[in-house]
Symmetry: C2
Subunit: 215 residues, 2 copies
């Protein structure tokens, strides 16, 4: 079928520096501009090499994107799972998760917008629904919540709603920075400070609302 198959299909995938360079460049460009917002040539140029080479390693813009996107999702869900599977109490898990999420997003502010946005572009987002769901489920977080609810330590609320509450309050403030700055006069440094203060509000608000046993 393919006279020139991509490099990956052959054996020994020694971690060429070139492949990494392309992936890093693609990641940066895709994150900030989205799939449709950039060209293959732009990625190649960002990596400091030829257009043909990116297709030589990744076969097509689509293939390359899917690899980047799926890794972004892995990273994203992974950080969630990592905390859920500890032996902490729900309140501690919630607090630590929000703390870490704010810090993580301060370093990768384009990520949530990238993921939400590309997920809405029905194409290319052939996500394995059950894969991530199972990963989260296996942490036992759902049982832990149900138990807390039955012991009347936590309010009656759909687990999906809890996830929504958490992600809403962690991600939206980062995603909407430019929008917020265009309707309110907030310089960049001040927005960073705002986010720090906001984090404390979010933690207190969510803990107080979800749990009946106040600390």
């Amino acid at each position: 079928m393919f006279k020139f198959a991509a490099r990956k299909t052959f054996g020994l995938t020694k971690d060429t520096t070139t492949e990494k360079k392309i992936k890093e460049a693609a990641k940066a460009v895709f994150y900030s501009k989205g799939f449709e917002g950039c060209s293959s040539r732009e990625i190649a140029q960002a990596a400091g090499l030829n257009v043909a080479l990116v297709n030589y390693y990744f076969r097509s813009k689509n293939k390359l994107f899917q690899e980047i996107f799926s890794e972004a999702l892995d990273e994203f869900i992974g950080s969630m799972v990592q905390i859920f599977q500890t032996e902490l109490s729900l309140i501690e898990k919630l607090t630590i998760f929000i703390e870490k999420e704010f810090d993580f997003l301060a370093r990768h502010p384009e990520l949530p917008n990238f993921i939400i946005n590309e997920t809405n572009r029905d194409e290319n987002c052939a996500i394995d629904e059950s894969k991530y769901f199972n990963k989260v489920r296996e942490t036992g977080i759902f049982e832990q919540m149900k138990l807390a609810q039955s012991k009347d330590e936590m309010i009656e609320i759909d687990i999906a709603s809890v996830i929504l509450l958490i992600l809403s309050n962690c991600q939206y403030p980062v995603m909407s920075k430019n929008f917020m700055q265009s309707i309110m006069p907030i310089p960049n440094e001040q927005y960073a400070l705002l986010l720090q203060a906001h984090k404390a509000h979010v933690i207190e608000m969510l803990v107080n609302y979800l749990f009946k046993t106040k600390i």
Copy 2:
């Protein structure tokens, strides 16, 4: 300069049905696919006419987009202002705003993602920062909040944080529908129900957190 100026530059802008058709089509296409995600021809086709005609009326894809985008923002801020400038108490304003916002977003679910996303694409978003800020400021909502805080009816919190809390919890659940559905098995009808229940949680959580005088 222009041998063929756009129609609008001449006098009498009688509301041609054609111009409206183009705008409606452009709105639908831009909202769901974004500026970079669609072509001029796609818009023309959606309006059922020629490509040249959309440029005849709007000069360029960019010009057309900016008109759509700025109207979207007007609509968005307008609905906010409309509630702020009533004579209700803060708690009532907050409750009604969230109610209305959830209903509005149920009808226009693409809008928040569209606005956030295009605002992040630094180009084309030459928003008049002060214009919208003044509109909101003129409602007196800031003074009302400061007064409530001084009377110890409301917690000490930055006004920007309050706006963030509200928008986060109203918009993110709508924007992230596809993402949520790809990490949790939630069919469409169930997601609508989830949103209804979520709205009640958001109202109760925000009212309880922001205001000290419980109802």
